[in-house]
Each structure stands twice: as structure tokens, then as C-alpha cells.
């Protein structure tokens, strides 16, 4: 019978032995000052909910970000060793300059140049989301990294193997120990470190944010304000709150690509009522996250708005919001599309996409 308790008992015995040994060392080498690393601090980081944001959707206290946990998570995010052949890091498909999406790719290529079937989503404001991935394959910020790591066309690796690979790297051993109170390179700690890094990835300083918070630099032009009004009237049912998503799964009437026939949410739930439903994406930084839609079929915001204005396809799971009295989609004039487009560009947060905190030189 396997029990974790037995493992923990063994671990605590080891720790006792280590403690005893370290006491001996302290006694015998009282002047030795190279154990400072052990005493390196690992303070909790400040996490502030922006005043215009809804409450957190994840309980971050279970894995609260610390200095060292965050730094370790960032290093892991940029490390190709998280993939089977060492070539694909998280940052390969999630590039900071494009709000952590894969610039210029409708689909990303993973190891051995295999190609996926969905467009890499932006990594931002993660702790404010209750569901992840276009189909809701995860609802836990700590567990979500499992999906791309294990996906055979993405990183094609396992957590257990990553732990084995990193255990031979002295720097990682040191960093895990600092981040997790003397604990080792384990599957759980890998997930936790990545979770801490992603918890801190908050994008909340766009020109729009400054506008709604009445902060300096927060002025919008007449066209942008017109776009904001139109957006609130026509788009905010789904792209709700200042996260610009309601985290729901909806079929927006996008004609299915027959080469993929991606069933969307049904893949996870197994219910045909979820067919062609995909998670409503946030529109933060949307200016830099092209191409658009779950399959990256649209290259511009103009194309997206054209689709909503005239391309919505009826099916039994089409969201009722997009089928008002037999009118499919969202009627929009060209002037209105231009205004909405102008407004959406005020959601670009250059602080976020240039923040050195989220970058790691590999």
C-alpha cells in the first residue's frame, strides 16, 4: 500500500538527522559564514487586487507567492527542460511582448514540429479566472500547467520526469529549497512555483484602466469613448467586468473549421450540449494578441468585428445572446466597428508587456 504518510515520516526522519548534523556543524564550525544562503529570506510578495477588478477567482493563500517561489516559477516558465526534447519552454508559445501569446501563429508548434489545434491564449490576470483553456480543461491555477506539459503535441513531458531532470541541477535544488522551505524538486513544487509566477502576472495599467480609475494619463479620445459606449452596449454581456470576460463557455457562431471539427467544451465535459462552446477570452491586450478566435483564424480586429456583424452561423448550441429575434450576431456599422476597435486598443498595457519582472534571460 502506498501512503503519503509513510513518505512524510521518512522525510521527517531525514530532516531530523540533517538537523542533528547541522547542529554538530554549527558547534564545530562556529565561524563558518558560508551558510548564509540557507538563511536567505523568502518574503511574501505584495499582491494587490486592482480597484477596478472583480474579486479573485482563485484562493491564492493556498500557494501564496513568495520572492523565491515567484523567481523559481519564472525560471521554470522560460526553461526548455520542461519539454521532452528540451526545446519548448512555456515562453516559446507565450511571449511577453504579445501578452504571452504566440505571435504570428494561428496554431503553435510543439516538439518535433508538431502542430496543435488551438491558438495559444494570453497568460494574464490568471488568479482572477475560474476556468482555464478554451474548453475549461482546468479550474485550478496550480494544476493548469499539467495540460501543456503533458500534451503530446506541445511539450510531451511528464512532471515526474521534469523533476528527475532538474534534480541534477544544483542551482534548481538550491532554488526549490529556498522557495519551499527546504523541500526538494518535486512535481508538486514545480506546479506551485509556476502557479506563483502566474499569480503575479497581473495586467491592469492600460490607458483604459487609468481612465476608469481617474489616474494621470487616463484620457480617451472622442472615438475611443464612443467605442467604450458601444462596447458596453453590445459586447459586455460576455466580455464582462474589467477583466473583459465572464469566464463562461459559449458558442459564438463561428463556423466550425471542417479540418479540425474542434468540439470545444464538449471535449472536456462529454456533453453534446457543450458542442462548439469555447471560453470567452479576455480582451485585455487584444491589440497585440492576434490572430484571434480559438483557432486563430482572424488576423485583425476588423475581421473579428466583421464576423460578429455578418458571419455568425446558427447551430443548436449558438449562444442565445447572439440570436435576438432571429437576428444573428451583432449588427454594426463601419463607423461603429472603427470606434470599438479604437476602444479595444486602449486595453493595451505596455507596463505589463515590458515589465522586466516577468522576463527571464535564458
Amino acid at each position: 500500500m502506498y501512503t503519503m504518510e509513510q513518505a512524510i515520516i521518512m522525510k521527517s526522519k531525514c530532516l531530523k538527522v540533517l538537523f542533528a548534523l547541522s547542529c554538530l556543524l554549527l558547534v564545530s564550525c562556529g565561524n563558518n559564514d558560508d551558510y548564509q544562503a540557507v538563511a536567505e529570506s523568502n518574503n511574501r510578495l505584495a499582491f494587490n487586487v486592482p480597484s477596478n477588478f472583480p474579486p479573485l477567482a482563485q484562493d491564492i493563500e493556498y500557494n501564496y507567492p513568495t520572492e523565491k517561489g515567484f523567481e523559481l516559477g519564472r525560471k521554470l516558465f522560460y526553461d526548455g527542460r520542461l519539454s521532452a526534447d528540451g526545446t519548448i519552454s512555456c515562453s516559446f508559445c507565450h511571449e511577453q511582448g504579445y501578452a504571452f501569446t504566440h505571435h504570428g501563429h494561428d496554431f503553435s508548434h510543439g516538439i518535433n514540429d508538431q502542430v496543435g489545434t488551438r491558438n495559444a491564449p494570453a497568460v494574464q490576470n490568471m488568479a482572477f479566472q475560474a476556468e482555464y483553456f478554451y474548453d475549461g480543461a482546468s479550474n485550478s491555477l496550480e494544476m493548469l500547467s499539467i495540460v501543456p506539459i503533458h500534451n503530446p503535441v506541445e511539450m510531451a513531458e511528464t512532471l515526474e520526469t521534469i523533476a528527475v531532470k532538474l534534480q541534477v541541477d544544483k542551482e534548481y535544488v538550491r532554488l526549490f529549497s529556498l522557495a519551499f522551505d527546504g523541500s526538494g524538486v518535486t512535481s508538486g513544487n514545480i506546479l506551485k512555483a509556476l502557479g506563483q509566477f502566474m499569480t503575479m502576472m497581473v495586467s491592469s495599467n492600460s490607458r483604459y484602466d487609468r481612465y476608469v480609475r481617474n489616474e494621470p494619463g487616463g484620457s480617451l479620445t472622442a472615438q475611443e469613448l464612443q467605442g467604450l459606449g458601444l462596447f458596453q452596449a453590445k459586447c459586455a454581456t460576455c466580455h464582462k467586468t474589467d477583466l473583459f470576460t465572464d469566464s463562461a463557455f459559449r458558442n459564438n457562431g463561428l463556423p466550425p473549421n471542417p479540418n479540425l471539427n474542434d468540439l470545444g467544451r464538449e471535449v472536456v465535459t462529454g456533453f453534446t450540449t457543450d458542442r462548439y462552446k469555447f471560453k470567452v477570452p479576455s480582451l485585455r491586450n487584444v491589440e497585440v494578441t492576434a490572430p484571434y478566435m480559438h483557432d486563430g483564424r482572424f488576423g485583425s480586429l476588423q475581421s473579428v468585428l466583421n464576423f460578429y456583424a455578418g458571419g455568425v452561423l446558427y447551430s443548436s448550441t449558438l449562444d442565445p445572446v447572439l440570436n435576438q429575434n432571429g437576428t444573428l450576431g451583432i449588427p454594426l456599422s463601419q463607423e461603429e466597428k472603427d470606434a470599438i476597435s479604437a476602444f479595444l486598443k486602449t486595453l493595451t498595457d505596455t507596463d505589463y508587456i515590458n515589465n522586466p519582472l516577468f522576463y527571464y534571460q535564458t
Binding site: M1, G136, S140, L144, L159, S187, G188, F271
Partner: protein
């Protein structure tokens, strides 16, 4: 018998109590802690479960040759005669039953001495604990992965991994089947099961009861709801998979009657040890 420090300490504590309080006339009360074990005897509709051996025919007329039966049991609670519930520390209360690896016994350590008449446990990982992340699960991931009980395309755990081959009266030839029971972000398929013991399980500092459960794998598909593998065949007609949708909800409800207590051994000896 495994000698553990905590047993020795507990025994010494009891001995000290006996020596120092020889006027104590509360002769019926028991004190200290002991262990209990729960043996999951995997079977199929009254027969032994033999992996990769013979086929078992169910009431749907489908014959299943089983090559894997692994599952997660959790959140153990022993319930005493007076109704007192002793909850095994939740962070240590996740166990894997793996028929192929012959890992079929759960050891509960440090339970208060007493007479227990019921046992309750969960099948799978509860949503509350799952959302608390890996810390709360004591890095259970690696153990679960070693028994093919992790889900990676939808993050979480397979509560039951039940696989093999089958034949069906509705189709020719032998097909594979994969039944992966678990929760997803749409449905919570964790269930708790409470069983009444036919005789009292006595936990003492020097007595370890063994609760002998029969787990009937047949019930997974052939329980309150009859689930035909034929209906879950893929379009290529090569194999059946149940990994989502209504099937998981039906299986969760079927498994409520998957376990029965056959008997309880009391005494100092070891029982059913592998």
C-alpha cells in the same frame, strides 16, 4: 508486526497510567491509539478478480477481460458505537488501490482506541481538496501517475482506471475498453460511501482490526444503471472509452454499491498483508 516509535510511546503511556492509577475503576474505558487496516478485496460479481485471465460476462451480455483495476480511496472516517466520528487526518487520507501491483490494503495509523461499527470513505479526490492544490494533496500526483490515475488533458485524477478487452453480442470481435472515472470542471463525480460493519472493529494499542471489504468491479458498468460498452465504441469500431459526460455520473452512482464489508478480523496478528 511493524514496531513503530509511536506504538512504543503509546504502550509506555498506557503502562505508566496502569502503574500510577491502580485505583482507577473505570475498567471499560480504553485509551491510547492503535491502527486499523482496510483490505480491498477486488472481485467481479462474486468471483475473484483475475487480471489478464478469464472473461466475466455481465447482465448486458458483454464479456469483459480485465487488465487493469486501479482506484483512489480517500477521506477515511471510522464511526464508533456511540456515533463519534474519527476523521483520519485529511492530508494523509489519499490511498491508491492497485490490483496489478497487489496494493490493496489501507493502513490507518494512530486511531484512538475504541470500538468502531461503521467506516466511511470517498472514491476519488473531493473537489474542495483538489482546488486546494498539491500541498493539500501531499504531492499525491507522482503516486497517482505511477498507477495511471492522473488526467493530463483535463487536469486532475482518474478516480477509477478500469481497462481491458470485451466482446459484445451487438458486434463482432474483441475490442478494447477504457473506463476512466473522475471529476472534470463540469461534473463532480466524487462520492462517499458509508458501510456498516457486521461485527465491531476493536482498535487497541495492541490490536489492529482488519476490515475486509469486497469491491465488486462488475458494478462499475452493471449496477443501478446498466452501461453498455458497445454504446461507447469509437467511430473506427476498435475500442470503447468512457471518460466524460453522463457515463461518469452514472458510474459515480453505480459505485455507491460497489463495496460491501465481508467481515472484520480483530486481534493482534496481521491480516491480509501482501
Amino acid at each position: 508486526m511493524k514496531f513503530k516509535l509511536q506504538h512504543i510511546v503509546a504502550a509506555m503511556a498506557v503502562a505508566t497510567t496502569l502503574v500510577s492509577c491502580n485505583n482507577d475503576d473505570d475498567t471499560t474505558a480504553v485509551s491510547g491509539t492503535g491502527d486499523a487496516e482496510i483490505f480491498f478485496d477486488n472481485s467481479v460479481n462474486g468471483d475473484d478478480l483475475l487480471l489478464n485471465t478469464s472473461a466475466y460476462t455481465n447482465s448486458n451480455g458483454e464479456s469483459l477481460k480485465i487488465n487493469r483495476l486501479n482506484y483512489i480511496v480517500s477521506n477515511f472516517v471510522l464511526i464508533a458505537e456511540d456515533g463519534t466520528e474519527v476523521v483520519y487526518p485529511k492530508e494523509n487520507s489519499y490511498f491508491i488501490i492497485n490490483e496489478g501491483a497487489n496494493s490493496t490494503t489501507v493502513h490507518l495509523e494512530g486511531m484512538p482506541a475504541g470500538n468502531y461499527t461503521k467506516v466511511r470513505f470517498g472514491l476519488g479526490v473531493d473537489q474542495q481538496r483538489y482546488l486546494q492544490g498539491e500541498t493539500a494533496q501531499q504531492s499525491f500526483w507522482d503516486l497517482a501517475a505511477a498507477s495511471e490515475l492522473t488526467w493530463t488533458w483535463s487536469t486532475g485524477y482518474k478516480f477509477i482506471n478500469f481497462e481491458g478487452t470485451f466482446t459484445s453480442p451487438q458486434t463482432d470481435g474483441e475490442k478494447t475498453f477504457q473506463v476512466h472515472q473522475g471529476s472534470n470542471t463540469a461534473t463532480d463525480n466524487y462520492r462517499e460511501i458509508t458501510l456498516t460493519l457486521p461485527n465491531t472493529a476493536r482498535v487497541r494499542t495492541d490490536e489492529t482490526p482488519s476490515i475486509h471489504l469486497i469491491a465488486d468491479a462488475n458494478v462499475i458498468l452493471d449496477g443501478a444503471t446498466k452501461i453498455r460498452l458497445f454504446d461507447a465504441l469509437n467511430t473506427a469500431n476498435t475500442g470503447a472509452a468512457i471518460m466524460g459526460g453522463q457515463g461518469l455520473i452514472d458510474i459515480a452512482n453505480n459505485t455507491l454499491s460497489m463495496f460491501k464489508v465481508d467481515h472484520v478480523h480483530n486481534g493482534a496478528g496481521d491480516h491480509h498483508e501482501e
